[in-house]
C-alpha cells in the first residue's frame, strides 16, 4: 500500500539535506559546546552557525535566539518567563494547548488571564485585544498561524497595540515558521516561538526569539547556557538541523515554494469541494498558511474518517488527541462557532515540502468514496435524508 502523508502540521519528515547536516554531530563532532577544547570549539561553531541561520529566518540578531527543545518549551518560557503573579495576560481561545495550558497555570499562580474570542473565520479582532488591556496587563500572547485551520492572525496590528500599551507581545509561530516569511521587526513582537519538527528538522529542537533587552525568567536552573535563558547542554545535532532547515526554508521562499504549496493545497481543496456534497472549508476567505486546509464533511464522524483513510494509506487528522489517543472535539473549531457536529465532522489536511501533485490526486481519489461509505453507514445521515 502506498502511504500518503498529509498531516504535516503534526510533524514533518526530516529533509535529506537536514539529516545529512546533523549526522556528523552524533559521532565525529560529539563535543559539548561549552567545553574549551577542540571538540567543544567544533560544536560551539556549529551551534552559533545554526543560530545565525535561525536569526536570518526570523529577521533578528543571533543573540536574540534561545534554542529550546521545541514549541511547547518556547511557549512556556515566553509566558512563564514574562508574566508573574499579579499580572494580567491577554491570549485567545484558539491557541495551542502549549499556550492555553500555560495560561491556565498562570491563573492558578495568581495571574488574571483574558481569553479573547475569534470570529467565524477564526480571526482575532485586534480591537478586542486593545479593549482587553488593563493597567496590570503585562503580556499579550496571540498565535501567528493556527495549527488546525492555518488561519493567520493580524499579528502586526496586535504588535502595534502591544507597543503602544508598552506590554510584551509573544506569538506562537510554530505553524508559520518555514511556511511563510517571518520578520520579528514587522510583527513587533518581543518573543516568538518556533519548532524544528514542523519545518522538516527533527523532533526535540526549537527556538524562542527574545527581543534584546527583554528580561525573561528561565524555566530551568543550571548552567549559564543560552545567555542564562535556558540551562542545559545544547542539543547540538538538533540545533544544527534546525539551522539547516531554516536555510532551506529561506531558499524555498526565494524559489517561491510557498506559492507552489498554496497552489497544491488549493488543488486538493477544490477537488474535495467539487466531488463531495455538503462539504466546506473552515477558515475560508481569510489569509492562511499555504499548506493547510481544514474541511468539514457534514454527517460524518471525523474520527472514523481518519481511521478509514489511514487504513487506505492516507494520513490526515482531526481535533487533537487526548492522552489515550482518542479524539476530543476541537476547541479551535468550536471557538469559531461551529456546531459540535460540524466540528466533529472536520478533517485537517496539511502538506509538506515532500508532497507532490500525485499525492494530492491519490488523496482526491480516496476521500469521496470514504465520505460516501461513512455517510451511508451513519444512522444520523439516513434519518436526515429521509426527513428532508
Amino acid at each position: 500500500m502506498r502511504r500518503i502523508y498529509l498531516d504535516n502540521n503534526a510533524t514533518t519528515p526530516v529533509l535529506p539535506e537536514v539529516l545529512e547536516a546533523m549526522g556528523p554531530y552524533f559521532g565525529e563532532h560529539f563535543g559539548n559546546a561549552s567545553s574549551i577544547h577542540h571538540h567543544g570549539q567544533e560544536t560551539r561553531a556549529a551551534v552559533e552557525g545554526a543560530r545565525d541561520s535561525v536569526a536570518l529566518l526570523l529577521g533578528c540578531r543571533a543573540a536574540e535566539i534561545v534554542f529550546t527543545c521545541g514549541g511547547t518549551e518556547g511557549d512556556n518560557l515566553a509566558i512563564a518567563g514574562l508574566a508573574s503573579a499579579g499580572d494580567h495576560v491577554i491570549t485567545s481561545n484558539i491557541e495551542h494547548h502549549a499556550v492555553l495550558h500555560a495560561c491556565k497555570h498562570l491563573e492558578e499562580t495568581g495571574c488574571d488571564v483574558t481569553y479573547v474570542p475569534v470570529d467565524g473565520r477564526g480571526l482575532v479582532d485586534p480591537d478586542d485585544v486593545r479593549r482587553a488591556l488593563q493597567p496590570e496587563t503585562k503580556l499579550i500572547s496571540i498565535m501567528m498561524a493556527n495549527n488546525e485551520t492555518g488561519v493567520l492572525q493580524r499579528v502586526e496590528e496586535i504588535g502595534k497595540i502591544a507597543a503602544e500599551a508598552e506590554v510584551f507581545f509573544h506569538t506562537d509561530a510554530v505553524q508559520a515558521a518555514g511556511k511563510i516569511p517571518i520578520d520579528v521587526k514587522r510583527i513587533g513582537c518581543d518573543a516568538l516561538s518556533i519548532s524544528g519538527h514542523k519545518m522538516h528538522a527533527p523532533q526535540g529542537v526549537g527556538a524562542l526569539y527574545v527581543r534584546r533587552g527583554t528580561r525573561i525568567q528561565p524555566l530551568f536552573y543550571g548552567g549559564r547556557h543560552e545567555r542564562s535563558r535556558r540551562a542545559g547542554t545544547e542539543n547540538v545535532p538538533g540545533i544544527v538541523a534546525l539551522g539547516r532547515a531554516a536555510e532551506l526554508a529561506m531558499q524555498g521562499f526565494e524559489r517561491k515554494d510557498d506559492e507552489k504549496m498554496s497552489l497544491l493545497r488549493d488543488r486538493l481543496q477544490r477537488g474535495i469541494l467539487a466531488q463531495v456534497e455538503e462539504a466546506g472549508v473552515n477558515g475560508d476567505g481569510v489569509q492562511r498558511v499555504p499548506n493547510t486546509s481544514n474541511c468539514y464533511f457534514d454527517h460524518i464522524d471525523g474520527e472514523s474518517m481518519v481511521i478509514a483513510l489511514d487504513l487506505k494509506g492516507l494520513a490526515v487528522s482531526t481535533g487533537s488527541a487526548c492522552s489515550s489517543g482518542a479524539i476530543e472535539p476541537s476547541h479551535v473549531l468550536t471557538a469559531m462557532g461551529l456546531s459540535n457536529d460540524r466540528a466533529r465532522a472536520s478533517i485537517r489536511f496539511s502538506l509538506g515540502k515532500q508532497n507532490t501533485a500525485e499525492d494530492v490526486d491519490i488523496a482526491l481519489a480516496l476521500i469521496p468514496e470514504t465520505v460516501a461509505r461513512l455517510r451511508e453507514l451513519s444512522p444520523v445521515y439516513k434519518k436526515q435524508t429521509v426527513s428532508s
Partner: protein
C-alpha cells in the same frame, strides 16, 4: 480455514479481547484493533470520597497502553475511538437515574446495547470491517430452520456472559463474532501465553468499569456534585410489609432488593429489603421468607430465537448475573411486556435487573424487570 475477513476487534486491554485479536490474526484475517474511550477516570477524582487517581481499570491509560502493546506485538493497526458523550448519555445517566428511582441497574447491558454492538459496530463498518469480534464468553450461530441468528451459552459456563448480551438484535448478531465461545478461561490464558502476549496473566476485571472501588453510592454523589445537581432527597421511611414504620433511611439509592446490611435497625430476626417504593421513598423490609416471588413482569422485551412470543413457552429464567436459571413459563401480557411464572419461587427479584430466558443453552430473549 474460513475465508479471510476484515474484522474489528473491540480491545479492552484485558486477556480475553487480546487473545481474540491474536487468534483472528493468526487465522489470517485482516484485523483492526479498536478501544473505546468511554469514561475519563480522572473526571471525578478528588471529589468527596473518590480516589485521587485511578489506574488499572477500563479506559484507564494503563489499559489503553496494554491494548496498544498487544496490537503492536501481533502487528495490527490499532485506534482508540472516543465515545465518552454517548456513554455518559446512554449508560452513566440512566445508571444514576435508576438508582435514584429505587431500581438496581446493569450498566454492562446498556453499554453492550448502545455502545459496543451499536456505536462501535457502526464505526467498524464505516472503516471497512465486515464485522466485530469481542472477548465475550458466548456463542453466536445461524440457525437454518428458524432462519435466525442465535445467541448461545459458551462452553465455559462459569464465564457465561450471555446475561449481558440479551439485547442484541439480529442485525447486530449477524455481524458479531465471539471467538472465545468454545474455550475455557484457562485455555484462553494458554493461547495468550503461546501468542507471547505480555498480559497473559493479567487479572480479570470484576467491577463496573466507571465506578472506582465498586462504591456506586459515592460515585452517584460525586457525579451529581460534578454536574452541579444536588443529590435529590431520596431519604424516607423504613416500613414493614404490614405498613408499620420502624425507622428512617438515608436515601433509596443506597438500597437494593435482598440487601440485609446497612438497614440501621435492630430487630430480633434478620431483616431484608423486600421492595423499594420510589414514589413514596419507602424501603419495605421483612423476613427472608418475604423475598421470594413466583412471578415477575418485565418490559422492553428483546427476542432473539424467535420474532414473537405467540403462545406461552417453557424456559429457564435468569434474574441476575450470578443466578442459576430457574424453570418457568413465559407469557406475553402486553405489546412489550412479559409475565414470568416460576415453578419454584425465586429469591430477590430486583427491578432494574434483566430477566433472560434460556431454552437449554439458547438465549430465547430477555427483558427488563419492572
Amino acid at each position: 480455514m474460513p475465508k479471510p475477513q476484515t474484522i474489528a476487534v473491540a480491545m479492552s486491554g484485558g486477556v480475553d479481547s487480546s487473545a481474540v485479536a491474536a487468534m483472528l490474526r493468526a487465522e489470517g484475517h485482516n484485523v483492526i484493533g479498536l478501544t473505546m474511550q468511554l469514561w475519563n477516570q480522572r473526571r471525578l477524582a478528588g471529589h468527596e470520597g473518590m480516589p485521587e487517581a485511578v489506574t488499572g481499570r477500563c479506559c484507564s491509560l494503563d489499559d489503553v497502553y496494554d491494548a496498544r502493546r498487544v496490537a503492536e506485538h501481533i502487528g495490527i493497526p490499532y485506534y482508540v475511538v472516543n465515545h465518552e458523550e454517548r456513554f455518559e448519555r446512554d449508560v452513566v445517566r440512566p445508571f444514576v437515574a435508576e438508582y435514584l428511582s429505587g431500581r438496581t441497574p446493569i450498566p454492562c447491558s446498556l453499554c453492550n446495547n448502545h455502545l459496543k454492538f451499536d456505536q462501535l459496530l457502526i464505526v467498524a463498518r464505516q472503516i471497512g470491517a465486515d464485522c466485530i469480534a469481542t472477548g465475550h464468553y458466548a456463542r453466536v450461530e445461524y440457525d437454518n430452520p428458524r432462519q435466525r441468528w442465535l445467541l448461545k451459552r459458551p462452553a465455559d459456563r462459569s464465564k457465561d456472559q450471555t446475561y449481558f448480551l440479551f439485547g442484541l438484535t439480529q442485525e447486530q448478531l449477524s455481524r458479531t463474532l465471539f471467538p472465545l465461545g468454545g474455550m475455557t478461561k484457562p485455555e484462553v490464558r494458554e493461547l495468550a501465553r503461546k501468542q507471547g502476549l505480555a498480559l497473559a496473566e493479567k487479572p480479570d476485571s470484576q467491577e463496573i468499569c466507571f465506578v472506582p472501588g465498586g462504591d456506586y453510592k459515592r460515585f452517584i454523589d460525586a457525579y451529581l456534585a460534578e454536574s452541579g445537581d444536588a443529590l435529590p432527597d431520596t431519604a424516607g421511611e423504613l416500613v414493614t410489609a404490614s405498613g408499620e414504620v420502624i425507622g428512617e433511611h438515608s436515601g433509596i439509592h443506597n438500597f437494593t432488593v435482598g440487601q440485609r446490611k446497612g438497614l440501621g435497625v435492630a430487630t430480633g430476626s434478620p431483616l431484608y429489603v423486600i421492595q423499594i417504593n420510589g414514589a413514596d421513598k419507602q424501603v419495605i423490609v421483612g423476613g427472608d421468607e418475604r423475598l421470594y416471588s413466583r412471578t415477575l413482569r418485565a418490559r422492553r422485551v428483546n427476542l432473539i430465537a424467535m420474532d414473537d412470543l405467540r403462545e406461552p413457552m417453557r424456559v429457564s429464567v435468569k434474574i441476575r448475573h450470578r443466578h442459576e436459571p430457574a424453570p418457568a413459563a413465559l407469557e406475553k401480557i402486553g405489546a412489550d411486556e412479559i409475565l414470568v411464572t416460576f415453578d419454584q419461587p425465586q429469591r430477590a427479584v430486583t427491578p432494574g435487573q434483566a430477566a433472560v430466558f434460556y431454552d437449554d443453552d439458547v438465549v430465547v430473549g430477555g427483558a427488563w424487570i419492572a
